[in-house]
């Protein structure tokens, strides 16, 4: 291991709306920064290989794999994890729909699922079930068989679109 690789780096970014200053090993990945350095254990590691989606979080509004994102890429970034999304209420409807529809069993995949689902339901349109399945296909779930997850997301997308449509109608 070279000295260069061992070296630590200083970071400033925001997590869940709070400013964070950290010094971490340069090789650190985002998922470890969250779980080990910031004790945000809501995000999980399932494969550490970019495949399972358990580590999915939002960086600057986009879903990223926490296990593939290096800490060095985070300077100045705005990061949201399930803890902050819960607190802000941004995904309260998704969370309620997941509970109502039993779209989780062990719950290990759920924070990543919610992050992925968030970007889909925010688009404002109502995606088809196929589109939901396609969008969510980077998030592995061993427990549910996916149908309940698709149902929950579809419900939220419809409700949100309905609300927006009504708002639009009022504006018109």
């Amino acid at each position: 291991m070279s000295e260069h690789f061992r070296s630590r780096i200083d970071l400033e970014f925001t997590v869940n709306g709070e400013a964070v200053e950290l010094t971490v090993p340069a090789g650190r990945h985002l998922i470890d920064v969250l779980r080990l350095d910031l004790e945000l254990t809501g995000s999980h590691a399932g494969c550490e290989h970019g495949v399972c989606g358990a580590c999915t979080v939002l960086v600057d509004g986009q879903t990223v794999r926490g296990c593939l994102t290096l800490a060095a890429q985070l300077d100045g970034a705005e990061i949201w994890t399930v803890e902050g999304l819960t607190e802000s209420g941004a995904i309260a409807d998704l969370q309620a729909a997941f509970v109502e529809r039993n779209a989780l069993q062990c719950g290990y995949c759920t924070p990543g699922m919610l992050a992925s689902a968030k970007t889909l339901v925010e688009s404002g349109s109502v995606p088809s079930r196929e589109a939901i399945r396609e969008h969510m296909s980077g998030n592995y779930c061993r427990c549910t068989g996916y149908e309940a997850i698709v149902d929950a997301i579809e419900t939220v997308a419809r409700t949100r679109a309905g609300v927006e449509a009504r708002v639009e109608a009022k504006v018109r």
Partner: protein, 793 residues
């Protein structure tokens, strides 16, 4: 007093309703507490050096460089740990002739599979432990490996464990009737070979354990992602020479289990041994590559099967020769013979016939250890049975539904003992089949299939009936000497505010244990489910129990909860009767209020009973029993197992150019007895079906002929993802078991049991007219194109 389940308007009618899971809210908020989330003071991390060889003698071990690495604290070899930890043998006394050698937490003389832990390196952080592990040098002398199943017993094949004499772990034949005569004389005999690939559980949360030895108390605490805390308590105590009472196992949130987390793993025992040596908390968190090589594998069966029928398509008998390779050791303590054993019991399970033979040969190989994984043996037996039934139907020109109608055991023919010797209390194959046909519009689908066939679109319909073993009695493990509890217990306690706590020996891994326990106890006591808090997974706190496996949680743990809840209700009524100067028998508890049973007039709240009992006991008659805390245990005794039944159907489209299978829709009608929470049961079945779909289409742990694993990552071992999965229609028939007041049987494994066969039959229904069939799972595009003759090399 019995519960009038047939009356949905009865008071406190929570059993049978969809009630949200009390623990789901914290999980969607990221507030779960899985073992890897736990950090203890002074905690260190262990990483394992694993064998890169399928079979090798272990020579000198050079640990100097590892110990010199920054942050590395200790290095342990197999010999080191053997000094404080006794080896184990995964054997059961009732499985006659079974052999398996002693297994240590770290390999001592030989490494017997790729991934076997050989050296443990302890570091301040996981990264430091892993860096240290990379510096350990082991002098391996490679030995010949055994990998093929069918030739494992041949003379020319090396013997994996010399002391055992040969590579046979276990062999059992189950025979009834006159198989040879019947098959010689039968008007129709149909034969096929089947393979179910080697799978692994791929729980999204890999295995993880933290063990902490507190020398001052002489106590070991283990936080572990596991399904059977009391079993682990007893076994860790035994092998590490600690009194059972001084081992405390805690299973908090578990990120999926499916049987994978019900076993004793060498690396986890090593972690406990190391904690005992170092006197501080040690964490082992498996990574995904370790998961593929060291988690249990399952299935890996090859079978030749025959079915004999008369000229009317009535089944006369089955004759199956099943072979399975289980790796180098039988799993501890459940043994690796049970999957094969289940096959010998379950072939032909749904059908009425008299002549039966099924032999299983369980052989050792230099691959990962195979063991119990969701639906143990069932997917294998159902695929063989239903593959043969469909092949016979096709050859005889009988519709697949019709041949099943003719042969399924009649719904009024119970109790019945099958030719294989299974005692069946009551099943509903015909009712379930009727419901399936209606749900899927079988005739309509057949018409659509025919139309599309003319347009060159090849669709297929596959049916699979099955039975499923649930609610096991001690006949499964206890009689074999394993300290695995088949009974389970529940303590129900009413607190001063009238709320209730239920402590149960069954565990939660996402099935919804906490929800159904809350529902059952709520109905039993007479309070709303949100007033019931459920505690699971702590050996210090809950009654001694078996945990959650073999679809036993609802049927066994649920009945204990019902009885304990009713005992608390009765006690509360006795106290209330004393307070009201009434008779307990004239009172009832409804929604937290003591009422006059006949008029429904409200008399007193449970909270008032609680206040008097806990704070003003002086006002009650001296000597009046007032224990608002009751424990009940339950064990099944009339039947060794409560069998359930079901039938699944799959509708697929096969692209005959590419070999790809598109899953269009899936149906399942299931009879798990009394349903406690319909939504949870449905989602158990859906999740199970998708695991079965994985088995049929994607999943296979691949080894080369030398025993090297070829696909140890999630990019290479394919699992079902949302895009390819179908929507699934789930329906139910309810035939409650009379063994318990609750009447519940298990539901967690049915989906996995039947789905692979349904999909196999659907694919074959699609491609049979083109001249091919497939019976070797998974049905990859390549295998389908080979069956079609498109690929021939």
């Amino acid at each position: 007093m019995t519960i009038r389940f047939e009356d949905p308007n009865r008071p406190n009618s929570y059993i049978g309703r969809t009630v949200p899971r009390p623990n789901a809210g914290k999980l969607v908020a990221g507030r779960g507490r899985y073992v890897d989330d736990i950090v203890l003071p002074r905690m260190v991390h262990v990483a394992f050096v694993r064998s890169p060889h399928p079979h090798a003698r272990i020579g000198a071990i050079e640990t100097g460089a590892a110990l010199a690495e920054k942050g590395v604290l200790k290095v342990f070899t197999g010999k080191d740990l053997a000094e404080i930890c006794t080896p184990w043998e995964g054997k059961l006394a009732h499985l006659q002739g079974m052999k398996t050698p002693p297994q240590h937490p770290l390999a001592v003389e030989r490494a017997c599979w790729v991934g076997e832990p050989v050296v443990a390196v302890v570091g301040r952080t996981r990264a430091e432990a892993e860096a240290g592990a990379a510096l350990v040098e082991i002098d391996f002398e490679p030995l010949p490996a055994v990998t093929d199943i069918r030739t494992a017993l041949d003379k020319g094949t090396p013997v994996l464990h010399e002391a055992l004499g040969d590579n046979l772990c276990f062999r059992k034949s189950n025979e009834a009737g006159e198989v040879d005569r019947v098959f010689a004389e039968a008007p129709r005999v149909v034969e096929a070979t089947f393979k179910t690939a080697r799978h692994t559980g791929v729980t999204l949360e890999p295995r993880v354990i933290i063990t902490d030895w507190n020398g001052a108390d002489g106590q070991l605490t283990a936080h572990v992602s596991n399904q059977a805390p009391h079993m682990l308590q007893v076994l860790l105590a035994g092998h590490l020479d600690i009194p059972e009472s001084r081992v405390h196992v805690i299973c908090g949130d578990v990120g999926g289990s499916f049987g994978l987390k019900v076993h004793v793993y060498p690396d986890e025992v090593a972690t406990a041994a190391i904690a005992k040596i170092m006197g501080r908390p040690v964490k082992f968190a498996s990574d995904r590559v370790e998961a593929f090589t060291s988690d249990i594998h399952a299935r890996d069966h090859e079978a030749t099967g025959r079915i004999a029928l008369d000229e009317n398509g009535m089944i006369l008998g089955f004759d199956v020769d099943d072979w399975t390779g289980i790796g180098p050791y039988s799993i501890y303590p459940r043994t690796s013979a049970v999957e094969g054993l289940q096959v010998t019991n379950l072939i032909g399970g749904p059908y009425a016939f008299d002549h039966y033979r099924c032999r299983t040969s369980v052989v050792f190989q230099n691959k990962g250890i195979c063991a119990q994984y969701r639906a143990v043996g069932h997917p294998v037996a159902v695929a063989i049975t239903e593959g043969l039934v469909d092949k016979a139907a096709a050859e005889m020109g009988i519709d697949p539904i019709e041949i099943r109608r003719r042969n399924l055991i009649a719904d009024d023919d119970y109790p019945k003992t099958t030719a294989a010797g299974l005692k069946l209390e009551g099943l509903s194959h015909h009712k379930s089949l009727d419901s399936l046909i209606e749900a899927m519009d079988y005739e309509g689908l057949r018409a659509e299939q025919k139309d599309l066939r003319e347009k060159g679109v090849h669709r297929g319909i596959g049916i699979a009936s099955f039975i499923e073993l649930t609610n096991p009695s001690p006949f499964m493990y206890g009689i074999g000497g394993a300290r695995i509890s088949a009974q389970d217990g529940c303590t129900v306690r009413m607190d001063p505010d009238g709320s209730v706590v239920a402590l149960t020996g069954v565990t939660e891994q996402g099935q919804g244990t906490e929800a159904i326990m809350a529902q059952i106890v709520a109905e039993a006591v007479g309070v709303s489910p949100d007033l019931v808090r459920v505690v699971t997974g702590d050996t210090r706190v809950t009654p001694f129990g078996g945990g959650t496996w073999a679809s036993r949680g609802a049927g066994i743990g649920g009945e204990a909860a019902l009885q304990a809840g009713r005992a608390v209700r009765q006690q509360a009524l006795e106290v209330a009767a004393a307070m009201l100067q009434a008779k307990a028998g004239d009172l009832d508890v409804r929604d937290g209020i003591i009422v006059d049973a006949r008029s429904g007039e409200e008399r007193l709240t449970l909270a008032e009973v609680g206040r008097i009992v806990y704070f003003r006991g002086d006002t009650l008659p001296k000597g009046l029993p007032r224990e608002l805390m009751q424990t009940r245990h339950f064990i099944t005794s009339d039947y060794p197992y409560a069998f359930t039944n079901g039938v699944q159907a799959s509708y697929v489209e096969v692209d005959t150019d590419t070999g790809f299978v598109k899953l269009l829709k899936h149906w399942c009608v299931e009879d798990c007895g009394r349903i406690i929470n319909p939504l949870l049961v449905d989602e158990q079945i859906r999740g199970g079906i998708v695991q079965g779909i994985g088995a049929a289409l994607f999943e296979e742990v691949c080894y080369d002929a030398s025993g090297q694993m070829l696909n140890g990552t999630m990019a290479d071992y394919l699992v079902p993802m949302s895009a390819e999965m179908p929507d699934m229609v789930i329906r139910h028939v309810e035939t409650p078991t009379a063994e318990s007041a609750l009447g519940a049987k298990g539901a967690g494994e049915a989906g996995t049991a039947g789905a692979p066969a349904a999909i196999m039959n659907a694919i074959n229904d699609a491609i049979r007219p083109l001249g091919g069939t497939v019976t070797h799972m998974p049905f990859t595009p390549e295998r389908i194109l080979r069956a079609l003759g498109t690929i021939t090399d």
